[in-house]
């Protein structure tokens, strides 16, 4: 077992991880910074983000307005000090990315262009056609190459955090190409490992989105916050879950039921106009739109195909010129993956799991309760998104809180002691655990079978609408699946690039997180944002204007505690959408 070391280690090379690495390298050029990632950084799922990134830049907009949209979108479960810091720093971060070469779409005068987005009162979403995440990620990655103090461990899989005496002291990782197990010691670690959409069957998330960092932090003793809040995006392609961006609706697309009727008007989202109207109809927030789909299905007004119920997204009236200019990727995706041309045909869509509002509990600087352990991006829950994230806030979140975590961790490193001896013993333990899994020959359970059973269980028990019964039933099935997962059948006996072994570790993470999502959901006996309980349909501010914190008990079970929400300027109110 080889041992490497650095001052600051960032786990994850997506938007948040790369931004953190640059922030740390700029703040402290003398530090050894390292980025470890299970895929080459430019493969990270930030690459798939389409629609845009929000930040106030136009004179018609205000920080106050962006903050209010975010708070009301979050159904008041966000921390308002975090929201204020976010909207305030967002424009600077976005301009910084512009200076780093991000090819933002432009107005004729050369200023950046913005588009409307769901739940936003003003147009403030910057975009690079409909490949915003792709361009942001490649700009960040290519820019990061100029910082020579940043070392990369590409295609290394982190399997454990090393924690000694309450301080994070590095990680154990598998070098995928060789199967070697190594420790990387560090004075501070930032988790930027992204979301966990793959816990569900229909998702816009890539194969690599398994919630690794959340599980790592949880097992190391950090709480996971607000994990019951899972976002369904209202418009994914039914067969594959491929995302059709909200930007289609921002550019004027309509959602219609089987009768061609713009059904959102029946669900307190305003009245239909021919042109898009902010915070109205198709530009309502995602939780409301996904819920409306289910209601529409219950009324028998959706369509049915080989992959279940769906409605249609109609963008034909936007016209070929605008589609090719502003939504070229949507057209490409429809042609390739749905066999239709959206210039001439409607697009079948259904809600698909997209994003998790919850994550590793951090403060406003990205610090977790474990000294030296930080988190940012989708893996973290800094409490910007509350019970429902607004589209286009997440990419910006990766920048603002990636940079914050990078700076805070770089500062922390100075006073931090070098990792102690106990860490070596932990690392050897982990190596033994991994080796015995690699060499296991007596298993009977196929990874793929358990994974799909977990996924369908989650969809049934913790979908857009849940109940105490469905959540409890789901937890029971999961308990059984976790038992089975001890007897995985591993067929690949090679140490070289063993992806089956990596999938086994990922499945183990996902099963643990799935249970946390269910347990957190069970205990929140109210409905708020993306968490809708059929048995408790109302919001309950008296009891649940609070973050859930899931801790791991010594026996492996989950314990849920609550902590208060920070309110600065916007007392809890009603969420009102549609023209007022």
């Amino acid at each position: 077992m080889a041992s490497y070391s650095c001052d600051l280690l960032i786990v994850g090379g997506g938007g948040a991880g790369l931004r953190a690495s640059i922030a740390a390298a700029e703040a402290r050029p003398d530090l050894d910074v390292a980025v470890v990632s299970k895929v080459y950084p430019m493969r990270s799922h930030t690459v798939a983000a389409e629609g845009g990134a929000a930040a106030v830049i136009k004179s018609t907009d205000s920080l106050e307005a962006h903050a209010y949209d975010t708070v009301s979108g979050a159904d008041w479960l966000c921390d308002q000090d975090v929201v204020e810091a976010f909207v305030d720093e967002a424009p600077r971060e976005m301009v910084q990315l512009e200076h780093w070469g991000c090819p933002w779409s432009r107005e004729p005068d050369g200023t950046v262009a913005v588009r409307p987005f769901g739940g936003m009162k003003v147009s403030r979403t910057w975009f690079a056609a409909d490949k915003t995440g792709f361009h942001m990620l490649h700009s960040l990655f290519q820019t990061s190459l100029k910082y020579k103090s940043v070392k990369r461990y590409d295609e290394w899989f982190v399997s454990r955090l090393l924690v000694d005496d309450g301080r994070c002291a590095g990680v154990v990782a598998v070098e995928i190409a060789t199967g070697e197990v190594h420790s990387i010691l560090a004075k501070a670690v930032i988790l930027c490992t992204g979301g966990c959409g793959k816990i569900f069957p229909f998702t816009t998330n890539a194969n690599i989105k398994n919630g690794d960092g959340m599980a790592l932090a949880y097992r190391a003793g950090a709480p996971l916050k607000d994990m019951e809040f899972v976002q369904y995006h209202p418009t994914g392609l039914p067969a594959t879950g491929i995302l059709i961006t909200e930007a289609t609706r921002a550019e004027g697309g309509w959602l219609v039921n089987k009768d061609g009727y713009r059904y959102l008007q029946d669900y307190a989202l305003g009245t239909p106009e021919p042109k898009p109207v902010h915070r109205t109809m198709e530009l309502g927030p995602r939780d409301r739109l996904s819920q409306a789909f289910i209601k529409e299905q219950e009324r028998g007004r959706t369509l049915e195909g080989p992959y279940g119920h769906y409605v249609n997204l109609d963008i034909r009236h936007i016209g070929e010129t605008v589609i090719d200019k502003k939504l070229p990727f949507v057209r490409e995706l429809c042609l390739k993956y749905a066999n239709l041309d959206p210039v001439h045909e409607v697009i079948p869509v259904r809600p698909v799991v997209h994003y998790i509002m919850g994550g590793v509990h951090t403060d406003i600087h990205g610090a977790t309760p474990i000294a030296g352990l930080y988190a940012a991006g989708e893996a973290a829950c800094v409490s910007l998104n509350g019970a429902n994230r607004l589209g286009s806030n997440s990419l910006t979140e990766c920048l603002v809180f990636g940079a914050r975590a990078g700076r805070a961790a770089a500062e922390y490193v100075d006073g931090a002691p070098a990792p102690g001896a106990a860490v070596e013993a932990q690392a050897s333990d982990e190596e033994r655990r991994l080796r015995s899994l690699m060499d296991k020959t007596d298993g009977t359970e196929r990874i793929a079978d358990l994974r799909s059973e977990m996924q369908s269980t989650m969809e049934e028990s913790a979908g857009i609408y849940r109940s105490g019964d469905s959540l409890a039933a789901g937890a029971e099935t999961l308990g059984r699946l976790r038992q089975h997962a001890r007897h995985l059948k591993l067929e690949d006996r090679s140490r070289t690039f063993n992806t089956e072994f990596i999938s086994a570790l990922e499945l183990d993470y996902m099963l643990e997180l799935a249970e946390i999502i269910l347990r957190s959901g069970e205990q929140r006996t109210e409905s708020r944002g993306a968490h809708q309980r059929t048995d408790f349909p109302a919001r309950d501010d008296d009891n649940f204007l609070a973050h859930s914190l899931a801790y791991r008990n010594d026996d492996g079970s989950v314990r849920i505690e609550y902590s208060p929400v920070t309110i600065t300027k916007w007392p809890p109110g009603a969420r009102v959408y549609g023209k007022q």
Binding site: Q96, H99, D154, I242, L333
Partner: protein, 248 residues
């Protein structure tokens, strides 16, 4: 019986085999599938040891390039129905790269080449202030936009006859990305970047067969980038001969 198709998949584990061999698998000929789905069917249902990279399954992360019947393809973007179910599809790792395992290539050389061309905005930022963006008109954006669409899938390298002979050649994608910055109105680093490129011989071996542009799944046109580059550096060269006090 439902229709099926045979995949002949290149298998290679360096610890056991000295040479790759082909292994055959029968999979459903599902009309909604891309090649990658068929491979995942093998991995999930038949043989968990078949090894390949993939992630997004929507043609944007660049992980899943492989040879299909001898042609480099982004396997998540090619429907099975492009192939005749009565004939097997041969799936091999992208050619001209060292093979790590089965369908996984070693692409570390590309990461080095990419770093060498300095793919970042170069300018001493006297004009930059944190609060204001650089202006760039849609026309200026269009000048480099196409070259910024590269997903680093390595398919063009697998089609490039020069790379086949001279693996050191900077190659199509890295040159396209160098041009992406050279042509960006915000950048002032062209000369610095050109120095890095000129250090490599391979460029002049490129004969404009344009294979890279033909196979690129994202229409990046690396051949065009190389052509532009050659013209650019030829003019720079001429300028420096004619005007020795010239631009440098």
């Amino acid at each position: 019986m439902a229709e099926t198709i045979r995949l002949e998949v290149s298998r290679y584990r360096p610890e056991v085999e000295s040479e790759p061999t082909l292994q055959s698998y029968e999979v459903p000929y599902n009309k909604d599938w891309v090649i990658l789905d068929a491979l995942n069917y093998v991995k999930n249902q038949i043989d968990g040891s078949v090894t390949f990279r993939w992630s997004c399954r929507m043609g944007v992360c660049g992980s899943c390039g492989m040879m299909a019947n001898g042609e480099p393809k982004l396997t998540c973007a090619v429907p099975l129905t492009d192939y005749d179910p009565t004939q097997p599809i041969r799936i091999e790792p992208l050619q001209f790269f060292p093979v790590v395992r089965d369908l996984v290539i070693d692409m570390s050389s590309f990461l080095e080449k990419l770093s060498n061309v300095k793919p970042w905005i170069i300018r001493d930022d006297v004009e930059a202030t944190e609060a204001v963006e650089f202006r760039q008109t849609p026309v200026e954006l269009d000048a480099y936009k196409q070259f910024s669409m590269c997903i680093n899938c390595m398919i063009c390298y697998s089609a490039c006859p020069v790379i086949g002979l001279e693996p050191e050649f900077t190659g199509p994608a890295a040159i396209a990305l160098a041009q992406r910055y050279n042509l960006d109105s915000r950048d002032k680093g062209k000369e610095e970047r050109m120095d890095a490129l000129d250090a490599h011989e391979g460029l002049w071996g490129c004969t404009f067969v344009g294979e890279c542009t033909k196979v690129c799944p994202k229409n990046v046109d690396p051949a065009g980038a190389i052509q532009l580059y050659k013209m650019g550096s030829a003019t720079d060269y001429l300028k420096s001969m004619l005007l020795p006090w010239g631009t440098k």
